[in-house]
Symmetry: C2
Subunit: 205 residues, 2 copies
Amino acid sequence: MSTVADQQDIKREKILEAAYQQFLHYGYSKTTMNEIAGALSMSKALLYYYFPDKSQLYIAVTRKLANEYLNTLKDNLAKIKDLRDAIVFQIDTHHNFIVNNYNFFDFIRLNEQSLPDQIWEIVDEIRQSEMQLLGDVMIAEANRGKIRIVENPGEIVSLLLDALNGVRVAAMGHKKNIFPKKEYLDEIHQKRLILVDIFVRGLKN
Amino acid sequence: MSTVADQQDIKREKILEAAYQQFLHYGYSKTTMNEIAGALSMSKALLYYYFPDKSQLYIAVTRKLANEYLNTLKDNLAKIKDLRDAIVFQIDTHHNFIVNNYNFFDFIRLNEQSLPDQIWEIVDEIRQSEMQLLGDVMIAEANRGKIRIVENPGEIVSLLLDALNGVRVAAMGHKKNIFPKKEYLDEIHQKRLILVDIFVRGLKN
DNA sequence: TATTTGATAATTTTGTTAAAAAAGTCAGGA
DNA sequence: TCCTGACTTTTTTAACAAAATTATCAAATA
């Protein structure tokens, strides 16, 4: 039997889905609350009944996306023993996440300076989870004697993530577009694999 | 005895120096050709006698800075045998270069999209030289048997530079300012040292 | 009472234009 | 050849109205 709360949640979900599609297609500033309401055949005022304002709606969608991303990581990384394999899986997943939702993130890209803190809370949360998950694999590898034991696995993983991110940043270079073109994706991936190789090797002993 | 060409060069130098000070102090868009001329007690028209336009003047100053930077690297890296020491020297020098001239680079930062190609030529030239210099040290180390021999040293050095840059990018985080604050500089430096350690270790064998 | 809406208020963005500032030119002087 | 003052052209800024969009709310509905 469906309760009132259930119905509310379902409607909230529908709104989130429609909003996601619009944001993804047109970007944050180009999608209007009217259009989102229109896509759902409901009044704009109703959106404000479920969400306090546009930015909060955007943040709610972002939160949902982040959860989906993290669940993918959690579900799979637990099964992977080899450190290098784990890192490669993380790289692939993260990359797809960004590429598939590129347009959606224009809000974050274009308003970098003055963004609601909640966005950065989500970003930090993702980073934190990634560190935790990969850190666990690293510790397991250390315990199995495959790599040497480091005092602070989180710090090392963090360093690796920063380094990998640097490969992406560099690949975007000074080209017109801010985001790497399709043609560079493979190059980024290849370089990251080499970097991971050297890095993991540097942990052995 | 001083030739006409000498005199020209001296005046050009004076202009470059004055322009550098103004750009550094006020940034590109906020310094006017009038101010530069004023600082030199010469007419604005004379600036246009020595340089075709404002952006070319800026580029000329940039070129000069780049040469000074590269000379510092060349003069010192040749003397350093240890790969890790060489990389650390490069990191320090590069970092100082950016920090000391931060305001000067606002033109590049703020106009990222539509910049004269010459700027990127300089950037590429710097990167190319850095790769060459560090690549040489790496080859020497490989020949001495301290690290394993890699097929493409340039590629590996490039990868390292990208990774190190990623550490800086990450340190800037989502804080208000685009450039790392003084308080983060040490942190960046420490992380880079750790990364270099792991990276160089990953090349041994 | 919880949900929904049309009408309306408040705010932000966009477009227009005029004034000011700065870039860039040029005829002519030393 | 080097240099300048006066001039023209281009770019930036400010002000303000019009349009678009966000956000609110009293009233209707279920």
